[in-house]
Amino acid sequence: MTEKTPSSPAVQFRKDLVAIIPSLRAFARGLCGNRDLADDLAQEALTKAWAAQDSFKPGTNFRAWMFRILRNHFYTTATVQKRYVAYDPEIAERVLTVQPNQGGEIVLEDLRRGLQTLPVEQREALILVEAGLQWDEIADVMGVPLGTVKSRITRARTALKRYMDGPPDAPLPKKQGASISPVGVE
């Protein structure tokens, strides 16, 4: 049996896991948009990470490794159990026609809703930027080329801005027979 000293790898691994729990919860919350499901997902990721700890290479990016485990589990679970709401372009379009914001300021609840209207692969890219990961680290977590990451982030930001701006103002109806001549110049 391996002796657990305060500096042993097992002890350090647990410390690393504990330290990353808040970020895991934030990532999971962003992915599934539901607190309870997100916490389930984060806990399942912790369990998987513990089981796979021998596959983690010390000195490599622990944060990216954990995010990769969580997102892989999310996609597996979402596919197999359909536990999470899938992206539906029709629903997203309906939501986009609702003015989310009566003022000019960003309302976080609107932003949260807007985030959930995005396709999940765009959403996760955007969330990982907020997690502080570099572009190449995000590409590593998502298992896609760097260009794909940039593309997804750009699309996500464009769609989210559209959502937050609300529908464009309808043009004013033209009056029948209205004169275009300036007043007094006839």
Partner: protein
């Protein structure tokens, strides 16, 4: 996840690295955040969750896994 599935939904062209060269992506997160309320809002959402107290069940889970693993090692 099929990338093609999402391209039509946002009406933007194919995802190719060479297509991205002209995209005005920020070079640093801070520069983007200072001028983009959406980026600032997203960061706020992230920080809000990170700042929540971690539910006790997370620590219980780690204790459980650690104890189960220790017991299994002792049994070998």
């Amino acid at each position: 996840m099929d990338d093609d599935m999402t391209e039509d939904s946002v009406g933007i062209g194919p995802e190719k690295e060479e297509d991205m060269k002209s995209f005005p992506l920020p070079t640093t997160v801070d520069r983007r955040r200072s001028s983009d309320p959406i980026a600032a809002g997203l960061k706020r959402l992230w920080v809000d969750v990170e700042s929540e107290p971690v539910p006790e069940e997370f620590f219980s889970l780690l204790d459980f896994i650690e104890n189960s693993r220790s017991s299994a090692e002792k049994d070998r």
